[in-house]
Amino acid sequence: MVSLKKLSEKEELLAPGHRLCAGCGASIIVRQVLLAAETPVVIANATGCLEVATTIYPYTAWRVPWVHSAFENAAATIAGVETMYQLKKRKGEITRDIKFLAFGGDGGTYDIGIQALSGALERGHDILYICYNNGAYMNTGIQRSSATPKGASTTTSPAGRVIPGKKRFPKDLTAIVAAHNIPYCGQTSPSFYNDLTGKVQKALSTEGPTFLNIISPCPRGWRHETDESIAMAEEAVTSCFWPLYEVENGAWRLTGYSKQIAEGKKEKTSVIDWMKKQGRFRHLFTETRKSFLESIQEEVDREWENLKKRCGY
């Protein structure tokens, strides 16, 4: 358990004055991640909301070395930086410990950046890749990605008279990453800062490639009030749409609230209730789309049962 009092003594490494939207989940995540890091870090950022809104020239919000190269190559870029560090460490030109982070949205991670990510994980770079997952290409105006939930209406999977939003479930990227047999990966949520900061610290103290998939509410894209972001991130977890878990050296473990649900200590909430609070699912709440809506609850339940099994429940 981290002490917030202790964390609050640390320097804010993401300065205010950045231009992410009011209530943006990404900036909450980045703050929590950087507060959790106990060594200096260098960051590579994929093109996306976080990148554009934090570095509008001639301003930068970053108080750490930071590089943005392109949309699909944050993992490759940080791999290059880390490799140069390894060389300089081997030659004795650098002695201090530095950690290497990449941030990408779900578009830059699930879709266009998956090859570079997979390559970097397989090669074994000592990096932590963080996907801030808001479930669509929010930066360019809410286009669907392969992380967009089933039924969500986006500008490229619009809910119409015939089609009820995105037709398919998101792919399970965390499991895909885990299949690389890297030493540590997991899912977390900024609403559970203890879980998030704990996982970041674990990842950063692990040698080799690590990965965290972090759900990142987006008031604009999810269509909820700006003050609801943390509540939305929380209910994503309590409904088991976004379970908290980690995979450490091949061992799957539920953590925090999700572990408590699995152990019967907390109530699992309805995913439909969570969806009802977001405008992106509004069109599903009609009599004709009842079975479609129910199919989403069934899918979430099934995936949750599968995950529990993997985690030994």
Binding site: P40, V41, V42, A44, E51, V52, T55, I56, Y57, P58, Y59, T60, W62, R63, V64, P65, W66, V67, H68, S69, A70, E72, N73, A75, A76, T77, I78, A79, G80, V81, E82, T83, M84, Y85, Q86, L87, K88, R90, K91, I94, R96, I98, Q115, A116, S118, G119, A120, E122, R123
Partner: protein, 388 residues
């Protein structure tokens, strides 16, 4: 030292002597052998280099950018589709002023797929703000790579350099060549000087911000300046290297141009064949000269103009085409460099997809030029040489 090296072996050997900090690469024909050889050097501990075998050329160049900005000497190599896949990040490397050295074994672009030489890969990247040097033979390919380090890393330049050599024609041809001693190379290239490295965590910097209409134009203007300053640096580095080796290096290499009335402009390995053709046609009484274009970016427009003005006809040989344009890319540049001069400039597109170019074909080009010079009439400004 004297060696019998293929182009690939020469590249690997030059890289070994440079001993770069990081090499990130992805295999592609005809460059693969160079990387296999270099991987051997890494495996045997002959170099200090950290080698990244990337998941694609796009990732390879992205790794190079990250490593370069981290603060060290970075090299890579590619060809054809590999260079095409890098296209997006070539611009990123150049605008972030990464002095990356990349050897390109020039190869045709798909489709249809073809593994042999032409220059459509390099010409596709001509506007990416990379310096481009083209080699005539294996010796030059080696020499260019060593010089490229000094050019790229010069404080007035800080641009990436692409050293080109013709795929298969040079990459897989074994030639007698000389190499410098390892210490000579190290002394020539000297220590890498990092500027604003990412690894300086006490002085954090931001690379690659969102740059809108208020500053983007200024940052592009800076690249124009760097290219202009590179001109002088390339010449000086060439002179210094020339003094050390007894070989000469310039932007342009003229041959028999002193009293020439017609000229052929060419780059890459075809220069050798063209030289033989010029010699043969001189014996037949045609006052023909040859200009080998060693450096394509920055384009030596003033020097070229000086060299070619007063010619009665000039043939520009292009080993790639710019579909829908008026002639190939080298032709367009040469012709605009000669704007206002009373010189007929015509274009020959040749050798696409590795189609061989023979001495007699270049002799025919020279005969055509002689006719243009005599009659003042051009039958065709763009000719496809050797196509059925």
């Amino acid at each position: 030292m004297i060696h019998a090296f293929s182009g690939n072996a020469a590249v690997a050997y030059a890289m070994k002597q440079i001993n770069p900090d990081v090499v990130a690469v992805y295999p592609i024909t005809p460059q693969t052998v160079a990387m296999e050889r270099f991987a051997d050097f890494v495996a045997d501990g002959d170099v200090d280099t950290e080698l990244i075998m990337a998941d694609s050329e796009h990732s390879a160049m992205s790794c190079c950018i990250g490593a370069s900005l981290a603060g060290g000497r970075v090299m890579t190599s590619t060809a054809s589709a590999g260079l095409a896949l890098m296209w997006e990040v070539l611009f990123v490397a150049a605008s972030n002023r990464c002095p990356i050295i990349m050897n390109v074994m020039n190869r045709a672009l798909s489709a249809p797929i073809n593994i042999h030489c032409d220059h459509s890969d390099a010409m596709g990247a001509r506007d990416s703000s990379w310096i481009q040097i083209h080699a005539e033979n294996v010796q030059e390919a080696y020499d260019n790579i060593i010089q490229a380090v000094r050019i790229a890393e010069h404080e007035n330049v800080r641009l990436p350099v692409m050293t080109n050599m013709d795929g298969f024609t040079l990459s897989h041809a074994t030639e007698r060549m000389e190499t410098l001693e390892d210490q000579q190379v190290q002394k020539f290239i000297s220590e890498f000087k990092a500027i604003y490295p990412l690894l300086d965590v006490d002085n954090p910097v931001t690379y690659g911000p969102l740059d809108l209409y208020d500053y983007y134009f200024e940052h592009k203007r800076q690249q124009v300046e760097a290219m202009e300053l590179a001109y002088d640096v390339i010449k000086k580095v060439g002179q210094e290297y020339g003094k050390m080796t007894g070989r000469s290096f310039d932007m342009l290499h003229p041959f028999e141009m002193e009293d020439a009335e017609v000229a052929v402009v060419v780059l890459g390995s075809t220069s050798g064949t063209a030289r033989v053709a010029v010699r043969a046609m001189r014996q037949k009484g045609i006052k023909v000269g040859l200009v080998k274009l060693r450096v394509f970016r920055p384009f030596p427009k003033d020097e070229l103009r000086e060299m070619l003005k007063g010619m009665k006809a000039v043939a520009v040989m292009d080993r790639s085409d710019s579909f829908g344009a008026f002639g190939g890319p080298v032709f367009s540049e040469v012709r605009s460099a000669l704007l206002g001069e009373d010189v007929e400039v015509v274009n020959y597109i040749y050798g696409l997809g590795g189609r061989d170019i023979r001495q007699d074909q270049i002799e025919q080009v020279i005969t055509d030029m002689s006719t243009v010079a005599k009659t003042g009439k051009v039958k065709s400004f763009v000719t496809y040489l050797g196509v059925r």
